[in-house]
């Protein structure tokens, strides 16, 4: 109340005395705040810092809209009003321009990139050409001839921009009203006419994205531990989240370590992605295509496995943080080695990983395997068997699987981390033979549009949810093939294969949910009510984020997997939430997990009918072992941390000329001095000035 009334008093006075009828606050007259700002943030690893940062009080620069690459000279040399804040159209957001700006950072205050509404025609990838180069299996020690992508450069379009360090903030702006205001402001004030320099006042922009952490992970983790005050000031947090896994047969998750007589086939996919900008990571081809296929395959296997259980257990795993040096898979392997996981490496029979499978040329899929471990005959035999079962699984489907050349190493994949531990037979399914077909690897354009997921224009969201696209049909075929291959690999009978079919409607809805909007009726049915706030009307962001915050895709995949592989059971909400079948049950929680989901609401009712899903879905930590071991300079494990920051915001305004500012100060000083002099004279002669001869008695000044 106090604050409010104060504000009112001030507002009243300002309105009454100065501004007049258009009762705006002064701040509104000066600044236009940008509504949609996506920054690039600072990440750190054992040796480097990458990303961007501003000064503590924000970077201010005169706006300059870059029209072409030649135009950059105005910013770097000839422009008379540095520093400049450069507005880039996304086609100009290239390595060559960004490097020029980076090297002239005294004249560049920041960069704002206008994100286009449609994808570019040429391929763009801000990632490196050799993703996860140093933490995969192909090190100098393993096979020098395969190290550092010597044989195949996986991401030839990669510019490496995501792994550069910039001394100025870089923001992404949506092409909307904000951008229109910026352009208008630039046109009105800053545009140089006929080569002459523009006149003041000039339009400027201020970007805030100050990052607390600096140098590298070891430095920032050390600073995290310094406690000067009661509430310690954290400067960075490790990247990480949770892996999601489930098994076709319940495995005791309380008793960790080796399980006798257990042999598991790991079916893996990765959950995460990234782009240059924070929290814009659509990862459609790089992540979603793979794990949606695996989810659909898991669903396809639910009933056949109950009818005719195969010998081996299939372990579905969804790894988080794979983009950042295999956080999830390295942690799971580490846990398996240290008896912290439900099974250990001795229990692992083989690995089938599903990589990027969304863009198949001529319906071809490629089976990648590791040439080094296949030199071992027994491993080679198992790999051959797995490839054979994949080939037989593809019979009758619109999918052809081919082996890649024998000498080619594995593409970046979680399986590499298993191979690092020991030679396990395994295959990675990809849609590319050598270099990625994905032209937008780990970029903001790797989205639904790139996977050709589009709908007729007049559909409501609910109609879009169930509208089957060609991509969904193609992925359904892949899922069916994967499911059948897994079934054979697990030792199931071939006669069952025709009963294993992925559901295209499920694939359709998952693609819609992850790539278009997660806030849809189907996802709402499958999650508990307290997670409703995680659903959004935009594509899911697949950036792994820091370990303290649960990532949205992990939760969604967890509940999807539970619903797709588990079964609804008749258990009360209380028992369900306490992980038990009934009041006396204390054993089931070791084998199963129970989730109370909110379910659908029956027609002509608004109250949802919740139910309990029993499944084997579990989460396991996806935090790099480097942080548990406190080895912040580890060469084996991911050391990525994300810096903390206070505020991310941007605003545009006009800046006055230096001359006008100096004039104001000069007038001020003159007024002050003149009034001091005048008052001194007047007060010293007040007796004379204010004494009227007629009334001497009253004049007492």
């Amino acid at each position: 109340m106090d604050l409010l009334s104060n504000k009112w008093i001030v507002n009243l006075l300002v309105c009454c005395l100065f501004i007049g009828v258009g009762c705006n606050s002064v701040e509104k007259k000066i600044y236009v705040h940008l509504n949609y700002t996506v920054p690039c943030v600072r990440l750190l690893n054992a040796t480097h810092q990458i990303g961007c940062q501003s000064h503590l009080s924000g970077n201010v620069g005169v706006l300059h809209v870059l029209e072409s690459e030649e135009n950059v000279d105005w910013v770097l040399r000839s422009g008379p009003n540095p520093p400049y804040l450069v507005i880039l159209e996304s086609p100009l957001f290239t390595r060559s321009i960004m490097m020029k700006l980076k090297n002239a950072s005294s004249r560049v205050a920041g960069v704002a990139v206008v994100a286009p509404s449609a994808n570019p025609l040429e391929g763009v990838s801000p990632h490196t050409t050799c993703p996860n180069e140093n933490t995969g299996v192909y090190t100098e020690k393993y096979d020098p001839s395969l190290a550092h992508c010597n044989v195949t450069v996986w991401n030839p379009l990669g510019s490496g921009l995501s792994y550069e360090q910039f001394d100025f903030p870089i923001f992404s702006l949506k092409d909307d009203n904000d951008t229109q205001v910026i352009r208008q402001c630039y046109m009105d004030h800053n545009r140089a006419v006929n080569g002459s320099s523009p006149q003041y006042p000039l339009c400027a922009m201020q970007l805030y994205s100050h990052m607390s952490a600096v140098t590298d992970t070891a430095t920032c983790m050390r600073r995290n531990d310094i406690n000067f005050s009661i509430s310690p000031e954290m400067v960075c947090d490790p990247l990480g989240d949770y892996n999601v896994w489930a098994s076709t047969r319940p495995i005791n998750n309380t008793a960790k370590g080796h399980k006798m007589w257990e042999s598991v086939v790991i079916a893996a996919a990765r959950l995460d992605s990234r782009s240059f900008f924070f929290e814009v990571a659509p990862g459609a081809e790089s992540g979603v295509s793979g794990f949606v296929t695996l989810l659909a395959a898991a669903h396809a296997l639910r009933n056949p496995i109950q009818v005719a259980p195969p010998n081996r257990t299939i372990l579905y795993t969804f790894f988080q943080g794979e983009t950042f040096d295999y956080i999830g898979s390295s942690r799971m392997v580490y846990d398996m080695q240290n008896n912290q996981f439900a099974v250990d490496l001795d229990n692992v029979h083989s690995v089938l990983e599903i990589g990027q499978v969304g863009l198949r040329a001529n319906s071809k899929l490629w089976l990648h395997s590791d040439p080094v471990s296949r030199k071992n005959n027994s491993v080679n035999a198992e790999v051959m068997k797995l490839i054979e079962s994949l080939q037989s699984a593809s019979a009758g489907l619109n999918v052809t699987v081919n082996e890649t050349g024998f000498s080619q190493p594995l593409p970046p994949s979680s399986f590499q981390r298993f191979l690092r531990a020991r030679p396990i037979p395994g295959v990675v399914i990809e849609d590319h033979q050598s270099a990625f077909t994905n032209r937008f690897y780990e970029s903001m354009y790797d989205n639904a549009e790139y996977l050709n997921i589009s709908y007729p224009p007049n559909l409501t969201p609910e109609e879009q949810l169930v509208s089957v696209t060609d991509t969904a049909m193609a992925l359904t075929e892949v899922a069916t093939m994967v499911a059948r291959a897994l079934y054979i690999q697990a030792g199931g009978a071939e006669t069952q294969l025709k009963n294993i079919n992925a559901d295209r409607n499920i694939v359709t809805r998952m693609l819609y949910g992850f790539l278009v909007r997660s806030n849809n009726s189907w996802f709402q049915e499958l999650i508990p009510s307290d997670l409703m706030s995680h659903l959004a009307d935009r594509p899911t962001n697949f950036y792994v984020g820091v370990a303290q915050q649960s990532s949205e895709p992990t939760l969604l995949v967890k509940y999807l997997l539970a619903n797709l592989t588990g079964s609804p059971t008749n258990i009360s909400q209380d028992n369900c939430q306490n992980q038990r079948e009934d009041e006396k049950d204390t054993e089931s929680k070791h084998m199963y997990s129970y989730m109370w989901v909110q379910g659908a609401s029956p027609p002509n009712s608004t109250k949802r009918e919740g139910f309990c899903v029993r499944s084997t879905v579990r989460l396991s930590k996806a935090l790099s072992p480097a942080f548990d071991l406190r080895e912040y300079t580890s060469k084996d494990y991911s050391t990525w941390t994300e810096s903390r920051w206070k505020s991310i915001k941007g605003r545009i305004f006009l800046v006055a000329s230096h001359d006008l500012e100096m004039l104001t100060l000069g007038v001020g000083v003159a007024v002050l001095l003149a009034s001091l002099l005048l008052t001194y004279i007047m007060s010293s002669k007040a007796d004379i000035l204010f004494s009227s001869g007629r009334e001497p008695a009253n004049a007492t000044y």
Partner: protein
């Protein structure tokens, strides 16, 4: 760099007020007390005005532009009338206080004359109203931006500072004229003060045509200054004496113990 604007505007708005305070008020504790009390009375008037304003805005139709404009005019008029009412109340209070002081005082004369009180209280009113009208503008003048992205004049800060300077001085003059009028029971002079106050406040509706509001305000300021000068006992003869430095003879001629 915009610290220059901040200091420039501060010096313009408060330079005269501060120098007056330094040379005429700061040395005398009693004057300081009356200055603060005057500022407080102005604050109370503003509190009442803003209370009425707050309530009326809440009950008004926020979407209607004409209603909001009417409300603003109503608010200005109400605020001015309240300020003048409180000036009168303060005058009454000072009269009472002066009588009390006289009875307590050992000396036979009052420690502070009613003319001095008029000047001190007027300056108190001015200080407070100046502070309230310009403080948040000054806060935003630190930058980095300046007014104008929506097409407003970029002389906003400068003209605001000059307006505040005028308001502070006007309050001082109004105080002197008002108290003198009350002493002499010349109610038309009181009315003139109220009307000129209303005029100045309503002139700000001219903004953002700053010339349209500043020039008439400074004309009124000059006229009020002359009037206040005469009410405070000044005259053309005194001024002439003062300027031509014949004060020494004058002082000798009119010398009397204080």
């Amino acid at each position: 760099m915009t610290a220059a604007v901040f200091f420039g505007c501060t010096f313009i708005a408060f330079g005269p007020a501060i120098s007056l305070f330094l040379f005429t008020i700061a040395r005398d504790p009693l004057r300081v007390i009356f200055l603060i009390a005057g500022a407080f009375f102005w604050l109370v008037s503003l509190l009442l005005a803003s209370l009425v304003w707050f309530i009326s805005v809440q009950i008004s139709n926020k979407d209607s532009a004409t209603q909001q404009k009417g409300l603003l005019i109503f608010g200005v008029v109400l605020s001015v009338l309240l300020q003048e009412t409180f000036r009168f109340a303060y005058y009454k209070l000072l009269k009472k206080a002066n009588e009390g002081l006289l009875t307590l005082s050992q000396e036979e004369t009052m420690p502070i004359s009613i003319r001095q009180l008029a000047y001190v209280s007027g300056l108190g009113f001015g200080f407070m109203s100046g502070a309230f009208s310009v403080v948040n503008i000054l806060a935003d003048s630190v930058g980095p931006g300046t007014v104008g992205i929506h097409g407003d004049s970029q002389h906003y800060f400068l003209s605001s500072a000059f307006m505040t300077l005028a308001i502070i001085l006007l309050h001082m003059f109004w105080g002197v004229v008002f108290f003198d009028a009350c002493e002499k029971q010349r109610w038309w002079a009181v009315a003139a003060v109220v009307i000129s106050h209303l005029t100045v406040s309503c002139l700000t509706f001219q903004n953002p045509e700053y010339v349209g509001s500043l020039v008439p305000t400074y004309v009124i300021l000059f006229l009020m200054g002359v009037w206040a000068f005469y009410s405070a006992g000044g005259s053309l003869r005194n001024l002439k004496l003062c300027i031509t430095c014949k004060d020494r003879d004058f002082l000798l001629a009119n010398h009397r113990p204080r």
